[in-house]
């Protein structure tokens, strides 16, 4: 009995680790390759770099606009996150805790947005931004990202607010708080974890956005990393893979570090979103 159990457990870990290799190896291989010379890249593709060379990194940072693109992405992402958190926490609060008949209909109206494909809005938004001279600006990226992030973010906040007891609000009111003070002094401090969850989910989505950036920007001044990385595609077969891998590594290392720090919050957002939703 015991040996059978051990064998089963051994097999289980073996399969789980095999799967892990399939999931992680491509990314690890890419990062290792970025330290190799182009000769080594073709002759010894699977081995560790014999000499860890930073040449690819140096030339990418010197010759490309990668840092500018990262800066643009950071500006867009963090502006979006601030707006998303501000808008969805306040709207969610009013929709759950304040007493108005319209609330349930409005909540439904917001959550329907989860189903809407981004592509439907591309042509109208492109034309709108062209008319207003907003193409090639940070605003052209921030506005739609925020709009599309609201449904899920509001939903996550409302599910948290529904657990906050009304007595808490009553007590604060008796102590002389008005509604705004109740929100900022009593409710907001309680929502730290939910806020981090909403921020980390949206961070990944917005940082990685390709379609809005590709449609609304073509001036390199405003390009984000997702679009900028494409510049490394040369004419067919002429890609300098060493440099491309270095560029990819530079662009994904920050997000991987942030992910490893925040993964608890990201996981709870992803799983609660589906399991409770």
């Amino acid at each position: 009995m015991r040996s059978k159990k051990t064998a089963w457990s051994f097999l289980l870990y073996f399969i789980v680790i095999m799967i892990l290799i399939v999931q992680i190896y491509p990314v690890a291989w890419l990062m290792l390759s970025s330290f190799k010379s182009s000769i080594e890249l073709t002759t010894k593709p699977f081995s560790l770099p014999s000499v860890w060379s930073f040449d690819n990194y140096v030339s990418v940072l010197r010759e490309s606009n990668l840092l500018l693109y990262i800066k643009n992405t950071a500006i867009v992402t963090f502006s979006c996150l601030l707006l998303i958190i501000f808008l969805s926490s306040t709207a969610g609060f009013a929709l759950v805790k304040m007493n108005f008949k319209l609330n349930s209909k409005l909540l439904l109206f917001f959550t329907v947005g989860i189903m809407i494909p981004i592509q439907v809005t591309l042509i109208p938004l492109f034309i709108m931004y062209k008319d207003f001279g907003l193409l090639n600006s940070y605003l052209a990226l921030i506005l739609p990202q925020v709009g599309f992030a609201l449904p899920l973010s509001i939903l996550i906040f409302t599910s948290f607010y529904s657990y906050v007891p009304n007595e808490l609000i009553e007590a604060a009111v008796i102590d002389g708080c008005n509604i705004y003070q109740v929100f900022y002094k009593i409710i907001s401090p309680l929502t730290i974890n939910t806020t981090i969850t909403v921020a980390s989910i949206n961070f990944v989505l917005i940082w990685n956005d390709f379609i809005f950036s590709n449609t609304f920007t073509n001036d390199k001044q405003y390009k984000t990393i997702a679009v900028g990385l494409q510049e490394f595609i040369g004419a067919f077969g002429a890609t300098d893979w060493g440099q491309t891998f270095a560029a990819i590594s530079i662009s994904i290392i920050p997000i991987i570090i942030i992910y490893l720090f925040l993964n608890k919050y990201l996981m709870s957002g992803v799983s609660d979103g589906a399991v409770k939703g």
């Binding site: 799967i19 506005l143 490394f232 991987i256 799983s271």
Partner: protein, 291 residues
Amino acid sequence: MNVLKDKKAWFIFITPALLFYLGTVFVPIIQSLNYGFQDWNGIKDARYIGLGNYIKMFNDPYFWNSVQNNLVYVVIVVLMQVFIGLFFALLLSYIKKGAGIFRTLYYLPAVVVTVAIAQMFRNFYSLQPLGLLNMFLDWIGLGHLQSAWLSNPDTALIAVSIPEGWRFTGMYMVIFYAALIAIPKEIEEAATIDGVNGWQLIRYIKLPSIKHVLSLALIMCTTGALRGFDIPYIIGVPGSTTELVTTYMYKRAFSTNQYGYGSSIAVFIVIESLLAVLLIRAIFNSRKGEA
């Protein structure tokens, strides 16, 4: 409490979010519907042509080709994300030590920038210079199977579908895993005492318990694949072998300036997604009687 019936405060809390949502999500959809009935290239005056664009769409062989490709894409993506994701989650739910670390690492591909993934796979598939996949085939002695996977018309569509499936398998695993470990232990214990074996436990206890999550994941994944865009757009081959409905819409609108026609294809994507949702719901609801 009067403070919670403060109309002014309610407006102040809701209006900003509502304006953003209306302006960037809702109004554009109405406009899309409207453009769909127009013949418009963005420069000369728009002309209403009724169902003209839709009639054109139904007679457009390139459009139908993209619909067909999209269905293959959906099948591959759903198989990888829902079925493999469920398999991972089941395995992980039996692990006592380290499940958290595995879960974190499985999810990792989902946070990597799409373009990076697309570029990475472009390298793996490459024949000239030799990419990772072809090197691997050579290494295990299957060198004769080497191919330029992305430009070979027989494999191109599958080759652009796999990266999308691969990157989000971990995300669906996280969703299923959370649902599986939320099943009350007593139910499993009671079943085990009744002599239910491992496979029966999965088939008759675990899967039915997470049915709601399964149907939701299937809806998310199918509608996600129906609007799949990034990877096929970035590494797909020029021509029609890897054209999806979204990439076709995008090219019509932004390369050939057929804004009206592009909008009618966009409306098609919405309708198609709605139909998929209704179909999946119907399938899961009809199963209710059996269980």
